[in-house]
């Protein structure tokens, strides 16, 4: 997927919306997250398939009923497995030379895209977090990228990523390189009322404005 900091997979061109934009990183959550979900579904199905026929035999009902109900449980289990797998597969963290983005597609259910334009913010911190013995063993953790944007959430989090140390260092280097091209302040400025003009249209009026502007 990655070579010298740039992604080999060029199929993600959908997200390269700006001229000269290059893909740096595309990551999914660690496979353990998916295995955990699938394991829970399979365990629940197994319990249901074991208990219900016993209950039916106890009440001496039609013998067709346990077969039919078991089939229904299997249909539900298959659909849940497919949904869990697809949700995991279509949950991506994408870093390009112009933006950092989280795309989460759950077909028929939700469609979420969180994006931070890197030429509008400054990255102040990249924190890597791995807590717990299980996460240490399977090398899974979180990466928190802190930006200086007081008008919105300050942290962009990559949750349950494989190789968080390696990716965190790669991300830090990439963001650091991008900062050299950052000139001037973001496109928001302080008005006489103390509210930034750019964000006023989107966010509530009582948000702290960014410094370095003009009225």
């Amino acid at each position: 997927m990655k070579e010298n900091g740039f992604a080999k997979d060029t199929k993600m061109k959908t997200f390269l919306t700006n001229g000269g934009e290059k893909l740096i990183l595309v990551e999914r959550q660690h496979g353990f997250v998916l295995i955990l979900r699938l394991g829970t579904i399979l365990l629940g199905t197994l319990i249901a398939l074991t208990l219900f026929p016993l209950a039916f035999s106890y009440f001496s009902l039609s013998p067709k009923l346990p077969i039919v109900v078991s089939f229904i449980f299997l249909i539900i289990a298959i659909n849940l497995i497919v949904k869990s797998y697809v949700d995991w597969y279509f949950h991506l963290y994408i870093v390009t030379t112009r933006k950092i983005m989280e795309a989460s597609y759950a077909p028929l259910f939700s469609h979420v895209i969180n994006e931070v334009l890197l030429d509008q913010v400054r990255c102040t911190e990249v924190d890597i977090q791995m807590e717990g013995i299980v996460k240490e063993i399977i090398d899974m953790g979180n990466i928190m990228v802190t930006f200086d944007r007081p008008t919105h959430q300050e942290e962009f989090c990559l949750i349950n990523i494989k190789n968080p140390q390696k990716i965190g260092i790669l991300l830090g280097d990439a963001l650091d390189n991008m900062q050299h091209y950052f000139t001037g302040d973001p496109v928001w400025y302080r008005t006489k009322g103390g509210v930034s003009r750019f964000t006023e249209q989107i966010f509530p009026r009582n948000i702290m404005p960014m410094g370095g502007g003009f009225a």
Binding site: D9, K11, M12, K13, T14, L61, S62, K64, L65, I67, V68, F71, I72, L74, I75, I78, N79, I81, V82, K83, Y85, V86, Y89, F90, L92, A103, Y105, P107, L108
Partner: protein, 84 residues
């Protein structure tokens, strides 16, 4: 009571067939849409499970139809190998 249960079984089978199949088909459409938007194809195991989610309601309906036909055969021809 068994007869009522059989009726409930057949009605629920129709319901599950319609709802299950519609859900699976709409879901597959949305998955293909997401594949196009992201520019990435699903892996083969997942494609198999997606096909299974469409085939399962159909198989379920066939099973219920089989049971229904079995009931008809027993009622009309009184098969002795089947104990009620």
């Amino acid at each position: 009571m068994i007869k009522d249960l059989n009726i409930a079984l057949y009605v629920s089978a129709i319901f599950i067939f319609i709802v299950g199949l519609m859900y699976a088909l709409f879901y597959k459409m949305q998955v293909h849409k997401a594949e196009r938007e992201l520019g990435t194809a699903l892996p083969k195991p997942l494609q198999f499970f997606l096909f299974l989610s469409i085939a399962a309601p159909i198989a379920f309906s066939l099973l219920v139809i089989f049971f229904w036909l079995q009931e008809i055969l027993v009622d009309n021809f009184g098969a002795t190998s089947y104990n009620r």
